[in-house]
């Protein structure tokens, strides 16, 4: 276990190095440079050149890369070429916001998904099952920007209620944070719920067919004991897998929901960086998301061993 952990953590180094090279290259291959985007079609060539020079973008690419990587190794993510702000504090601040949104969204998702997923499995082909399956189909196929826009307009049009526009941290003011995050988190929660519900249903259906469940039934256990005591744990591996993947994706990619509800999270920060060709912001942001993604995956792998003692590393 210990050596496994060390191996996994060590493998982070080549992964992150590869990502850094990849993101740097791709970003600089994309047409358009920050100065001409800032200055638009009203620019003079001298102004563009002067601005690029002042941002250090007139240097050869390899120098720019080395400069960036040496900075990162010293914990310095550099400054935004647009606003001159330090990037690392911004990333951390915005990540904290995205994390709250994600946790909130995932919780809503799971609270909906797991009981209903189980219910629809043990009552397969009943009315409940049909409702659940229709919901999962809708949740998977309706894009989240549509769900979000509907929620936003629905509340403001019919009830004149609009979430507070300044984001606050949960630990500063839980009630205000709840009001800020409820609509965006519900938007994310519906999508999360659909995926997890589907997985829960099929995992449970499969487990309920297993011999040990039949044995448990034959022993005269109550339905509750069978489902929660025997089936639940044995069905959790695929559920945890998909849930873990969703957390990873949401942390890095809640872009649309953040954009829609003006949540200044990490996804929005990177997206804005891409539009503006703010190289240091995008590079730093993507690298950070990659790190988080890999760590979440590692965590999920560790949870496996706890759920199912037969799994050993």
């Amino acid at each position: 276990m210990g050596s496994y952990l060390i191996k996994r953590v060590a493998s982070l180094i080549p992964i992150l190095f590869g990502i850094s090279v990849l993101i740097f290259t791709i970003l600089h291959l994309v047409p358009g440079d920050p100065a001409s985007i800032m200055l638009g079609t009203n620019a003079t060539p001298e102004a563009i050149a002067a601005l690029n020079k002042s941002m250090g973008l007139d240097q050869p690419l390899i120098n720019q890369y080395l400069h960036w990587v040496t900075g990162i190794l010293q914990g310095n993510f550099g400054v935004s070429v647009h606003t001159g702000e330090e990037i690392l504090p911004q990333i951390l601040k915005r990540f904290a916001i995205t994390m709250q949104l994600t946790v909130f969204g995932v919780l809503i998702g799971w609270v909906l998904a797991i009981p209903f997923g189980i219910l629809s499995a043990i009552r397969a082909h009943s009315k409940t099952d049909i409702v659940v399956r229709v919901f999962t189909l809708l949740g998977i196929s309706v894009p989240n920007f549509a769900i979000g826009t509907l929620l936003l307009l629905g509340f403001s049009l019919y009830f004149n209620w609009f979430p507070p526009i300044d984001v606050v941290n949960f630990w500063d003011d839980p009630i205000e944070a709840f009001k800020v995050f409820i609509l965006p988190a519900t938007t994310m929660g519906i999508v999360v719920a659909a995926g997890v519900m589907r997985m829960t249903r099929s995992a449970f259906l499969e487990t309920m067919d297993k011999d040990f469940i039949r044995t448990a039934r034959a022993k005269g256990n109550s339905k509750w004991t069978i489902v929660m005591g025997h089936a639940f744990r044995n069905s959790s591996i695929p559920i945890v897998t998909i849930a873990g993947m969703q957390i990873g994706y949401l942390l890095g990619g809640s872009v649309i929901v953040e954009q829609l509800f003006s949540i200044p999270g990490l996804g929005q920060y990177i997206l804005e960086g891409i539009y503006q060709r703010d190289y240091p912001v995008v590079q730093g942001g993507v690298l950070f998301v990659a790190l988080v993604f890999v760590l979440v995956n590692l965590l999920i792998d560790l949870i496996y061993t706890w759920i199912d003692p037969r799994i050993k590393y």
Partner: protein
């Protein structure tokens, strides 16, 4: 049934929400703050986040709307687009037009308490003109030879040649006066303007507080302005309807949607922008003037106004019609009358009786540009020109624009506040924004002469002639100048005009 379920869902959620907010604010009370005092803070929805506050370096509209409230320029525009005094209380132009003396307001202070003097003006202009600054306004002041400080409130600009656009250009926010000795203005913002920078929360808002020492004692009328960053139009609509923001720019479509809704008014003004179809005059077959003329006859500009702008735009020439003193009436241009037969005949004369294939570049970022390209594509089909539309991401679009290698390109320009900008900057042979390779010595001579002519009626005649020449040569087809829309809460006294949002915001009050 479905509706009832949906309404039930919203109702129960909103009950939960209002339970934890302790009642919430009823719409009627939104003019007052929670403590029952009168509301003094104006909340403006901002579509984009500001990218720094250096007025000499940052041309992004999201930044200008903020720093133009913090800094002042020597002159400014009134709602009729006339140049009026600002930091300069008056100015004198020598008879030969080569010396401009600016007399500054006395007793104006920067936000840090320092007096604003002629030295600050000299420093600011020298900073703009220094190539290392990379200032967008450098080209506005290329005629300046020297700046002399006569006394603390008198600055003399010596020009290489008479420059009739000089005073107008000092009204630009890019020519803001900054404190002498400033080096990095990216984050700190210390000006003489009606508002001070209070707080800026990245990704969320920018808060400005009233400058109590502002030299115009009657302004501004609100205690603070908060620019709330809301990138999504649906969110801005929901926020203005529920009274969370007071003022928001909206699209023409959303304006129609909001019109007549309780609590919200829609206000508009004729913008200084215009849309165009750019033609690369170096590329075959567009190097043939007859082909360009044919395209001009084939394009029905009114249809573009109806389809793209839903009728809410005005026909335009090279100068946007909002600049009423300079713009020529488009009815005077012969090629503005759509005539497909004539267009076909011209194409045949040019050697393309069966038309040809080509490509229109446009920016995917702006739906109006894409729609304009689509309408033009249809119209050109009628004379045998088959155009493929290439939708580009904004960075890519700018690169293509700079490359001077496109065939046809749909875009939008801002006319600027003086005819010189609309004409010389975009279309003279050496104009920085002339990416169409258009070069006509007669045109160059006209606009150069207009620049150095101080007599306004003479100047107008020269520009009239230049506009007619430009439309006939057609390196661009000038299409439509749209209106801009604001949604404003009922209790806010805000009147937008082409002179700019800043001009309107300073005068805005809360009823």
């Amino acid at each position: 049934m479905k509706k009832r379920v949906l309404a039930g869902f919203f109702l129960s959620l909103s009950l939960v929400l209002s339970a934890c907010s302790g009642g919430g604010t009823a719409p009627a009370e939104q003019g007052k703050s929670a403590e029952g005092q009168a509301k003094t803070e104006l909340i403006v929805a901002a579509e984009q986040e500001p990218v720094g506050y250096d007025p000499h370096k940052v041309p992004a509209a999201s930044s200008v709307r903020v720093y133009a409230l913090i800094y002042d320029s020597l002159t400014k525009l009134d709602e009729n687009m006339n140049i009026v005094p600002n930091l300069a209380e008056k100015w004198e132009i020598a008879p030969d037009g080569k010396t401009v003396t600016m007399f500054l307001q006395k007793g104006v202070k920067f936000h840090n308490g320092k007096d604003m003097t002629a030295d600050d003006v000299k420093f600011s202009f020298e900073r703009i003109m220094n190539p290392d600054t990379g200032s967008i306004a450098k080209s506005y002041f290329s005629s300046v030879e020297a700046i002399e400080v006569k006394d603390p409130t008198t600055v003399v600009f010596k020009l290489k040649n008479a420059d009739a656009s000089f005073v107008a250009n000092t009204a630009s926010a890019y020519a803001s006066i900054v404190p002498a000795g400033s080096t990095d203005l990216t984050k700190e913002a210390i000006g003489t303007g009606p508002f001070k920078m209070e707080k800026s929360e990245s990704g969320q808002y920018v808060l400005l507080k009233k400058n109590a020492d502002y030299f115009n004692k009657e302004l501004p009328k609100v205690e603070s302005i908060k620019f709330q960053i809301m990138k999504d139009e649906a969110e801005r609509l929901a926020a203005i309807r529920s009274g969370k923001v007071d003022i928001s720019m909206v699209s023409a479509d959303s304006a129609k949607l909001l019109d007549g809704k309780p609590g919200v008014q829609i206000k508009n003004y004729q913008s200084l922008e215009y849309s165009y179809l750019g033609i690369n005059v170096n590329k075959k077959p567009f190097d043939n003037p007859k082909v360009r003329e044919a395209i001009s006859y084939a394009v029905d500009r009114n249809q573009i106004i109806q389809t793209v702008w839903k009728g809410e735009a005005t026909l335009t020439g090279p100068i946007a019609p909002a600049l009423t003193n300079s713009a020529l009436d488009p009815a005077t241009y012969p090629t503005y009358k759509t005539d497909v037969e004539k267009a076909k005949q011209l194409l045949a004369e040019a050697g393309y009786p069966n038309g040809f294939e080509t490509q229109i570049e446009t920016a995917a970022t702006y739906p109006d540009m894409v729609e304009t390209a689509q309408v033009i594509q249809q119209q050109l089909k009628a004379i045998g020109i088959n155009a493929k539309i290439n939708q580009l991401e904004w960075g890519n679009y700018i690169d293509t624009w700079k490359s001077k290698d496109m065939n046809l390109m749909v875009g939008r320009n801002t006319s600027g506040v003086d005819a010189d900008r609309s004409m010389r900057f975009f279309f003279s042979t050496t104009g920085s924004a002339n990416v169409w390779n258009y070069s006509n010595p007669a045109y160059d001579e006209l606009v150069q002469k207009a620049l150095t002519t101080v007599d306004q009626s003479e100047r107008k005649k020269l520009y009239d002639e230049a506009q007619t020449m430009l439309v006939a040569d057609a390196p661009n087809l000038f299409l439509a100048s749209p209106k801009n829309y604001y949604a404003v809460r009922d209790n806010i006294d805000f009147t937008p005009s082409a002179a700019g949002e800043v001009y309107s915001l300073i005068k805005t009050s809360i009823k």
